[in-house]
Symmetry: C2
Subunit: 166 residues, 2 copies
DNA sequence: CGTTGGTGCTTCAATTTCGAACAAGCTTAC
DNA sequence: GTAAGCTTGTTCGAAATTGAAGCACCAACG
């Protein structure tokens, strides 16, 4: 990237340290958020993410599969967590009319309430740790970076799909 | 602390989407790396991280606690994974002379070999997905961002430590 | 029709992670 | 010295995550 084509087996030290820092920072961020959610709101980060996606969705409802796609985890994990959220009455399941294999998950009133309690707390943490301390230019740059990475990952996924069906 | 006075309860949409993308991208990156490590080299990402840290360490050895600090996980998880790596003979444990509560973990020859096999594969993936597609300025900017976040997290940890001992 | 292939979700066993409780050993302050 | 309090690392049980296998259903082509 900076030092052009790069035949060595190892990354140059500076580059390696960028990647290490990246891993460390992301882990620490998630840990922080997870802890705060559990301490103050009794849900895990995965559960919170589910509530957020549902709240954003049309009709506050979503299909299991799409949910699994958005938060990035195995489908079986979503089944499990939606089960948990169901026990807490934060979420409800409905059979899907159009496709009877399918399941809709819908935010309940209690679910919406819980989210509205938790969200300001978490969002202020996100601002504090992640966003407040960066300026406009940096935010713009970050957005670009994220888009780049996203596109790279998409390419990679596409390449995989192209390879395996053979 | 969480529900205090607070009028912008929600992040603005653009800002929110930065955070969401960030979460998504980091998860996808880790997933990719994990899969490649398991498919081609028979170790998980956590195990790989342990090997990397040990290789970087003086004498290719490290104390359990420091290891847990570097890769960001619970101490018990490190005990577990070092156990696994021990079974595979990639790592060895030694009692610590200076402090007999302590344990040293040391990379074995086989461990070093395994790492040298895996590293180019993983690093090229990291380059491909993460680093190649960004230019020098962006890399610089990213480094700054990571430092900022790191510092924020440090402050936060410090604030915690200051609060709890009371 | 029917049968073949693919999809959506769940179930299950295996693995991993976490936090709390613990044992053992250091350290400090009297 | 020794008692009180930290630190280090492990153990334990509970929770979460994963991938594979399975089940029920759709779609589409003969």
């Amino acid at each position: 990237m900076c030092e052009g084509s790069f035949e060595g087996r190892w990354l140059s030290p500076e580059v390696n340290s960028v990647w290490n820092r990246f891993l460390t920072v992301t882990h620490r961020l998630e840990q922080r958020i997870d802890r705060r959610l559990q301490d103050f709101h009794g849900i895990t980060h995965t559960q919170y993410e589910i509530l957020v996606r549902l709240a954003d969705a049309e009709d506050q409802a979503m299909r299991m599969g799409e949910l699994a796609g958005r938060i990035v985890t195995a489908k079986s994990a979503v089944t499990y967590q939606v089960g948990k959220l169901g026990e807490m009455d934060l979420v409800e399941r409905f059979k899907c009319e159009a496709d009877s294999r399918g399941t809709w998950v819908k935010l309940t009133g209690a679910g919406r309430e819980r989210l509205e309690q938790a969200a300001p707390c978490i969002l202020s943490l996100v601002r504090e740790l992640f966003l407040d301390s960066i300026n406009c230019d940096q935010a713009l740059e970050l957005t670009k970076l994220l888009e780049t990475w996203s596109a790279n990952l998409d390419d990679h996924d596409a390449a995989d799909r192209a390879r395996s069906p053979e």
